[in-house]
Subunit: 345 residues, 4 copies
């Protein structure tokens, strides 16, 4: 049994890791940490876990945890993450980092959008944990930079088109909508029920931190510098991201041809479901699971393709993808522990 630690267990990403990990047959959760709730059993915070995980929240002591854990999930805010990741790596732990701290490859870009980085030397060590693009490198990774939720939904939707050079890389517009859990469990006015329920708004237009992450990855696929419009919106649901992506087609392709292309590109991917013609994704159909559902339409009227993707931001957008990465890194079957059937309604 692999011993794993979940650092930052009391946030929504942390508790989602626990939900998935308690059903994983090859691992044992040896330690969970929470600064705020030190000393409390995790199921007093999340009674949903009663009977499944009743571990006590510990303080974050890197040296101590490193002795007990083979692999560490760091589910911390950016900046907090970089303070502990190097220590875990030095002590020989593998690390799946769910923060933004090791996703960007360019230090200047990171420091422009976030803050000073204290361990930029790890940028080359870290592997961007999107298995559909980087599976080979992940096999031998010791530090996985788990992708952001929005970037996961966007990159999977545009990769086949950019890889085949079917769209104009300068024409990309991405209109994304996320459930409120994407804002985390931090206590802030904008996350209150009454501030979000029955409401809907865009936020962070032309200024959201996931933009450089998306651009980095799409640029790599396109072999051409990509600048896109990425507009996130806040959706009054607990979970789910739906991204609607627009691009100018460089050649005339029908919806059927493009769907066929996507199906071939993702034929061996356990967590990508390309929908047949006429069907479009709904966040309700992936809730609680590691799937990315993709639908698309080629619009002859304007010469554009519209790709729609749906994920659960806490699963394929965070904890589920992290476990998928752990499975790859550790040599387990990639879908182990992730065979959750979506609950509808």
């Amino acid at each position: 049994m692999l011993k794993v630690a979940v650092v930052g267990a009391s946030g929504y990403t942390g508790v989602e890791l626990l939900r998935i990990l308690v059903g994983h047959p090859e691992i044992e959760i040896c330690c969970i940490t929470s600064r705020q709730h030190e000393g409390l059993p995790i199921n007093t915070l999340f009674p949903s876990l009663s009977g499944f995980c009743e571990l006590i929240c510990e303080p974050l002591d890197v040296a101590e945890i490193s002795k007990r854990a083979d692999l560490v999930f760091t589910a911390l805010p950016h900046k907090s993450s970089m303070e502990v990741v190097p220590g875990f790596l030095e002590a020989g732990c593998k690390v799946i980092d769910l923060s933004a701290d090791y996703r960007l490859k360019d230090r200047d870009v990171y420091e422009k959008w976030y803050q000073t980085h204290s361990s930029p030397e790890l940028f080359t060590t870290a592997v961007y944990g999107l298995p559909e693009l980087y599976r080979d490198q992940l096999l031998s990774a010791c530090l996985v930079a788990n992708p952001g939720c929005y970037p996961t939904s966007v990159i999977l939707g545009l990769a086949p088109l950019l890889e085949e050079q079917l769209i104009d890389p300068q024409s990309l517009i991405v209109d994304s909508k996320s459930g409120v859990s994407g804002a985390g469990r931090g206590v802030k006015l904008g996350s209150l029920f009454c501030e979000t329920n029955e409401g809907f708004k865009a936020y962070g237009i032309a200024s959201h931190r996931h933009t450089p992450e998306i651009e980095q990855e799409l640029t790599g696929l396109a072999n051409s510098t990509i600048r896109l419009n990425f507009t996130p919106h806040l959706l009054p649901v607990n979970r789910g991201i739906l991204s609607t992506c627009y691009a100018d087609l460089l050649e005339d392709k029908s919806s059927e041809e493009l769907i066929e292309l996507f199906q071939q590109r993702y034929v061996d991917e356990p967590f990508v479901r390309v929908m047949p013609g006429g069907e479009l994704p709904n966040i309700a159909y992936v809730r609680g699971t590691n799937f990315c559902d993709i639908g698309l339409v080629s619009d002859q009227h304007t010469g554009r393709v519209i790709v729609v993707t749906a994920i659960d931001n806490l699963v394929k957008g965070a904890a589920g993808q992290a476990v998928q990465n752990m499975n790859i890194v550790c040599g387990f079957t990639e879908s182990m522990g992730l065979g959750i059937v979506p609950t509808f309604p």
Copy 2:
């Protein structure tokens, strides 16, 4: 007192008309109709109206109603509307038609997207009821084609930019999101609570009937044929449309400059609120009211402008705009009966 009839009173648009009209000081509701609920007091269907409107639903008898009413709101589905509108006009009633039947000016376009039209001769009589564009013509209109909900939100958001030729008319992409009441009160699977709550999806991509309506009006403003991408989505809220509109800027303009332009364009409009820089609309801030809130960002990174508009689909997108049109047509103060303060939360 002006005598008005509400034809099709038992749908969401009908009941919203009643909600607004019972507070209007210059009119009297003389008749309401509902095929399905004939003989029932409207407040048994909508107890919210108890004490305000307890009229009995009548059958739709054009000749009979024409004798009692000066003005008729037809809140019927398309096709049903064209069956009665000519009769009301002939009998001398003014008509505010909330269906799609008289919005399009080109019969071929109408018949391609809807069905055969039985009174296309009225296309030139009908005035498109967007006061911000057609106030002068509305003053003398006897038939007002009340705009669609999505088109209202899109046209108000793009008009200032097209009028000033600041954006490339071929570059328009509109990503819209509507609350469930937009689908009406008809009993269908897709409108069930469990099918929509905690879900989110796009629908009608490249095929929604509001596309030609939007294109007709924007083409008029641009003096150039416009083909755009319009993608509606279904939002799990009762009310509200938020449209996020993307366009390539033809000249470099800052957010401040563009906001200034919008503020000047709409300075005398009682129902358009242009938000200051840094603020973006939220459907929660216009709920129950006739406002269209507009915010925008000029993105130097991509050279595009992103305009976001928010309306209540049942008010500015239907019943409220219809009352605004009635006020203009009948010479009342334009905002009479519409001074409703938004309820938040």
Copy 3:
């Protein structure tokens, strides 16, 4: 024009007072206060109010405000309220206090459930602001203790039965459900969207502070000490309280007879709507308004009566009732400014 101040304007009760007061023809809002947002225009906090109220939030300076205001609404938490109410009264202002500080008549009870009281001498001055019970006393009140939201919904539902001694005063069980705005706009974990949406729970069983307030008022009506079970629940909606009240009938009475009794009791009340037999209230039918809708069933099978009441917790449960009280205290028509038609859906 009466000059009114709203002290504590940035909470949900405060903004709701503003929403209602901006439409009141006989008053002028002369001052609003907010400690936290001093110096900011209220519409930057609540863009819903743009165009209606754009006053700047001031600090809470009793002496200064007393000079400008004839009447003060104190929308503060308990304890904060008692720190300023005596000062306003001494300066000659009338006060409508929306906190719990002057609702209880027994100092020991207050201090048991809340904390030490610094001005218990005002307990006899204060009039409990439920117009349906205390209209006569309110006419000459200078300090009105605006009732709690839950108590309003319960007392109106049980008063006719207790007044007529039709139910066993020892048998009362009240099961109430409130929307999230009842918890205020304070930033706390339990009010987060993801903690409440798609959830439902009871809280404060046998220990909620509204229990003594309800018992005090029902005891007065029953002429017999009442101890009841009051169980509040948290409902995933923005607004609304529904209270389901159970009592053993002392005589055999049909639903029709009891509905008739309620209709007579409330025949002259502008804000109580007794529903006809077979109909039951829904919080959706009173949203945004000052109504209390009441329905009931006499259950022959068990000999109990079940009374269901619905109010909007922010209106009849707070700000609307406060304005109703102001109207009485100041000699305006009781429903002035409160003729809001419910918005459905």
Copy 4:
């Protein structure tokens, strides 16, 4: 592998059975039926199931299905169920019936609340499928009457108290609240999103069909005829039932003593979680799972006990309990296929 058929697969209970059964290691789904969607793959109706279950919906042919299936789940409305259950039994299939048709033991009671019964002789054959009460009889059952959703939540909450004769059997009041999926997937006005979202109401007061089912089972436990008040309410969430049960205590017992009693009573039950003192259930903590969470408070002030239970109406209230019953009937581990961890948020 046990061959099972799901008759009525396209309702919410049917699709929930499929969700659970596809993860069950000892069974194979050999047939699914849907009158309405005959010929369609089930995943075109529920894309959530893509990759898990893509069977074609068949017509309901008892003779044909009996040849292929060892066990049949009948997820049909009452009356439809009794038309096919006898046939399946005669052909040698075991049947888990999720309708109300075999739950009541008294034909007169059944026919009073439902309609004429065509196979009342099966009333003695059928075992009421609440494993916590009838596990022994279920071991050899060939027809299981799967309990109603409300009754499950109520009986589990009151059984320990009635078994120990701690409460007055004439004092029971049950106030229940159910998510909208409890109304099924039938297309009706009252289940529309806009009719339920942001709303809350009681319905079926003193007349809900689950009342005789609850009374039958509680009467059995109490050895005394029980008549109770049962009031269901419609909660604007997809899933979940919370029942708040009130009873007069016959002896003075503290909350701690009663919790201890419940913990002992249910110590070996895999799907009942008794919460520690001070904690109360939330439907959010059992979502998607077969748990019944129970919390309680003894109120010294009134001498009553308040028991609160939470289940997922589609799981412990329907499909999950059905699979639990299948496991018992077929000799599998009782929790097989039901080890689902609740998803929060």
